[in-house]
């Protein structure tokens, strides 16, 4: 008659290791997908916010220039998303990524 021997199961450890490795791999894949998705989401939203903020600031800047109230442009409400630069020909509004410059004549 066979008796169950508690120490006679050398395969069990190897099986647990495989399970752990598979679980870790699946978790890593899920996290990778999460981060990729989140980064894409963040980039899209940042771009949209930059566009909306730039449009609002251009609107305000035009009014301030027409009223000759340039001092109102130096407000923390317009920073740091955008930067202003005065030149001889007018006001340069730099987009947050510095990719484009818009010139407004005074």
């Amino acid at each position: 008659m066979d008796h169950f021997m508690p120490n006679d199961k050398p395969v069990a450890n190897a099986f647990i290791l495989t399970e752990v490795l598979v679980s870790v791999t699946i978790l890593a894949i899920i996290l990778g997908l999460y981060w990729t998705g989140f980064n894409q989401y963040r980039n899209n939203h940042s771009h949209l916010i930059d566009e909306l903020v730039t449009t609002r600031i251009i609107h305000d800047a035009k009014v301030f220039l027409e009223l000759d109230m340039r001092e109102y442009l130096v407000s923390e409400a317009y920073q740091p998303a955008i930067a202003f630069k005065w030149t001889k020909s007018g006001l340069l509004i730099l987009r947050p990524d510095r990719s484009e410059e818009i010139l407004l004549l005074p």
Binding site: F38, H45, L48, L52, D60, V63, L67, Y72, A77
Partner: protein
């Protein structure tokens, strides 16, 4: 006699693995928490900017008063700013143009726009904002919205 306990090496490895799992899990939870908070603040910014874009459109299309300025009435108390902007819009009953009042409200937790009584107002919830309006010339005001993590201003050009 065969020992059935764990060796010191096994315990050390087990503790190390457990510590690694705890550290990684804590960092992951923290990252997920931060990214959720970041995404919420971005959504809030987008909603606010879109509302301000609608406000600019309302102001730009506002009808003119006899003195040539735009038909914008501004009233404000401590925490609430209200704008009534009259602008032409299409009348759905006879397809003609009618003057309609756009009622804007900026309070400490809401940014809203109502057009008609029977229409659902457009509003967003902005917790703990402090709206403020200052006049810089006869028909030009600056609307300031200070929140927990943002500060936005918008010119109300009534010329």
């Amino acid at each position: 006699m065969k020992s059935t306990g764990f060796s010191i090496l096994e315990i050390l490895v087990a503790v190390m693995v457990a510590s690694l799992i705890v550290v990684i899990s804590t960092n992951l939870l923290n990252s997920i928490w931060n990214s959720t908070a970041y995404a919420n603040s971005q959504k809030q910014k987008i909603k606010t900017e879109l509302m301000l874009r609608i406000l600019r459109a309302d102001i730009e299309n506002a009808s003119q008063k006899r003195d040539g300025s735009k038909s914008i009435e501004i009233s404000h108390s401590d925490d609430v700013i209200e704008l009534n902007i009259k602008r032409p819009s299409l009348d759905p009953s006879n397809s003609g143009l009618q003057l309609e009042t756009m009622h804007w409200i900026f309070s400490k937790d809401t940014l809203g726009r109502a057009v008609r009584r029977n229409q659902k107002p457009l509003s967003i919830y902005l917790p703990n904002i402090k709206p403020e309006i200052i006049q810089i010339s006869q028909s030009v005001h600056i609307l300031k919205l200070r929140g927990e993590n943002f500060y936005i201003q918008q010119v109300i050009d009534g010329r």
